[in-house]
């Protein structure tokens, strides 16, 4: 009997394909389905070559055999517009949905901060916030677990080539969703997110700046230790998560300067923004899988 939980990836684009390559290495997840909508999609062809079942009929193409195929976890790497419908359909057949789109209909999940909570709450849909959120919310949380943060602000700078058409068409969704995540998961009283797209060649590696304004004078030693410990935790699933400078303390301002390089599985290494999403999504799925394997959690149809 397999000791892995079977999973389906919806969306055979860059994100879905990168996720597939990472999932093939997982000790807890076995990807068995790749779901697309374009018969000619190179991502579907690649998944088929790697031995997955594929369909170009969307989620409906997988549903009839999903239970027999043992799928208990699905990843949605499509778009916010179709996510709710995809989620409803797979939840109805008892699979947990991990949402990599900005739809955010389920609770936010940032693995190093609140994954355990989401799993303990047995949420059937969890949302991975945004790429900028995955890269920065752990650090806001690292400050707010030491002392109260009045205001958390992040600036994510990504290369032009790594900002896809979905992000570009609805860039406000990035700023709004990330700001909400800074508050709800990061623990800042109010949050703000800024994204900058830079077209330089060669493409720049994702950069993230985190500014926190603390209520009281920051405890420099405790905050520095907390930030360094958090970075180590994120590095467990994103090895290229690197502190460039800081924490810098200036009055009540705490600033942390980061660089995020990807693993280069399918996406280029500069696209750390995309890599951290797929890595966080897989990390989340693995934690669910461990709970399922341990008998602590049985996903049920909703």
């Amino acid at each position: 009997m397999s000791n892995k939980i079977k999973a389906a990836i919806i969306g055979p684009g860059n994100i879905g394909t990168d996720l597939l390559i990472k999932a093939l290495r997982s000790d807890f997840i076995e990807p068995v389905w790749m779901v697309g909508v374009e018969p000619e999609s190179p991502g579907l062809a690649r998944a088929a070559e790697l031995g997955l079942k594929t369909t170009a009929d969307g989620v409906d193409g997988m549903l009839p055999t999903m239970i027999d195929d043992g799928v208990q976890i699905c990843f949605d790497a499509t778009s916010a517009y179709v996510h709710a419908e995809n989620s409803r359909k797979v939840n109805a057949l008892g699979a947990v949905m991990i949402d990599l789109t900005p739809a955010a209909i389920g609770p936010f999940c940032v693995p190093t901060v609140n994954l355990a909570e989401a799993v303990a709450a047995k949420a059937m849909n969890v949302n991975m916030v945004t790429c900028g959120g995955q890269a920065t919310i752990p650090l806001v949380a690292a400050v707010s677990r030491v002392q109260a943060v009045e205001y958390g602000e992040i600036v994510a700078t990504v290369s032009s080539k790594s900002a896809g058409p979905g992000t570009r068409k609805n860039i406000d969704e990035f700023t709004r969703t990330t700001a909400a995540g800074i508050e709800r998961v990061g623990g800042a009283k109010s949050g703000k997110a800024i994204i900058v797209i830079n077209p330089a060649e060669p493409p720049l590696i994702m950069r993230d700046t985190v500014h926190c304004l603390t209520v009281d004078t920051p405890d420099e030693a405790a905050i520095t230790a907390s930030v360094l410990a958090m970075i180590k935790e994120v590095q467990q699933y994103v090895p290229g998560y690197k502190l460039k400078n800081g924490p810098v303390f200036d009055g009540k301002r705490v600033s942390i300067y980061m660089e995020v390089a990807g693993l280069g599985d399918f996406l280029p290494t500069y696209a750390g923004n995309l890599d951290i999403m797929t890595a966080a999504g897989l990390r989340t799925a693995e934690m669910y899988a461990q709970e399922i394997l341990a008998g602590n959690f049985t996903p049920v149809a909703t």
Binding site: V155, R168, F174, R176, I197, P199, H211, G246, S255, Y257
Partner: protein
């Protein structure tokens, strides 16, 4: 150069771009007083927002003395003839800010992106065109960084989303008149005849007037400037000077020159924290092609980490940084300080 008979709409930037040299600390009262003076002088259009546009209030760019909503409400209700615009940079501000600004009474929204990234403005330009009569402008920043044909491709995207006017923006004050002519002329030839073209200059190489004239000659009908040149870097094209030159050349602006000069001299200059001029650092911005609002951030980091602000600015240019990357400045200064042993 013969520009006789041409008409130009001048657009004043004091109360938006001018927020940069004021570290966003212009008070509501100062804004209202200057805006009233501009209204009386007959300046048709003025911009009022945080220096980095709607929603710019942040650690990264600076917290302003009042909110965009407070500034816009106070200024819009005082204007008799002058119209008010707001700037919006997608990635910083959102359509929620746009709606707020419309409710405050703006008549023009300008949606600004880096020159290669026009497609991030679709959401905001589309929303703007849903307001009947809202003058909708697409604004491509750092336009010196790409060739004219690439720039026009991006301008066409904004035109396609519904912008009735598009801007070629020399955010770094890097361009020379021929650079402006080439870009504006190609845009004029390729865009719809009813789409207006504007030029926004910075005076870092002292080319503000010359570049604006080149733009008018090549087909631009809107020109940005600011009274007394209050703007980022060495400031914007000094507007009262441009108006005087236009008068001498037979270009119609509709502005009362002497009244404009008086607002510049009596209200804007006394408000300056430092003389906005082509100093060593501002010249470096233009020379190295760096976003003008980086100026004071580089000066502050240089002081804090005992570095030369010119060295920081040159390196920012070499790394091809774009508008909005103010967070890069302290990060880079820390790297430089470590290399040089000053920390």
């Amino acid at each position: 150069m013969d520009l006789t008979g041409k008409k130009v709409t001048v657009h004043d930037m004091c109360l938006r771009d001018g927020m940069h040299p004021k570290r966003h600390q212009i008070s509501v009262e100062q804004m209202v007083s200057i805006a009233r003076g501009m209204d009386e002088a007959g300046i048709p259009l003025i911009e009022v927002t945080h220096g980095d546009g709607l929603g710019g209030a942040s650690v990264n760019y600076g917290f302003p003395a009042a909110s965009d909503e407070e500034y816009l409400t106070a200024v819009c209700r005082e204007m008799k003839n002058t119209k008010v615009s707001a700037l919006l940079l997608p990635g910083i501000g959102t359509v929620d800010h746009l709606k707020m600004a419309v409710d405050c009474g703006i008549s023009t929204i300008r949606v600004a992106t880096h020159c290669t990234e026009a497609d991030v403005s679709e959401q905001h330009i589309t929303m703007a065109t849903s307001y009947a009569g809202l003058d909708t402008v697409g604004f491509l920043m750092m336009a010196h960084m790409i060739e004219p044909d690439e720039l026009v491709t991006q301008l066409k995207l904004m035109e396609g989303y519904g912008a009735n006017c598009v801007y070629i923006t020399d955010s770094a004050g890097y361009m020379l008149p021929d650079d402006v002519s080439a870009r504006v002329a190609l845009a004029r030839a390729e865009l719809k005849p009813e789409t207006e073209i504007g030029f926004h200059g910075h005076h870092n190489m002292a080319m503000g007037i010359a570049n604006s004239l080149a733009a008018v000659e090549a087909g631009a009908s809107r020109i940005d400037g600011s009274l007394a040149g209050l703007g980022a870097g060495a400031g914007n094209t000094p507007l009262e000077v441009f108006i005087a030159v236009c008068e001498r050349m037979g270009v119609y602006t509709g502005v009362d020159l002497f009244k404009a000069m008086d607002v510049a001299e009596d209200l804007v200059v006394p408000m300056m924290d430092h003389m906005v001029r082509v100093d060593r650092d501002a010249l470096t911005l233009g020379y190295a092609g760096v976003y003008s609002s980086f100026l004071l951030f580089a000066k502050r980091s240089a002081e804090k980490y005992q570095l030369s602000s010119r060295d920081i600015l040159v390196e920012l240019g070499r790394r091809r940084t774009v508008g909005g990357q103010e967070d890069m400045i302290e990060d880079l200064a820390l790297d430089m300080a470590r290399e040089r042993g000053t920390i």
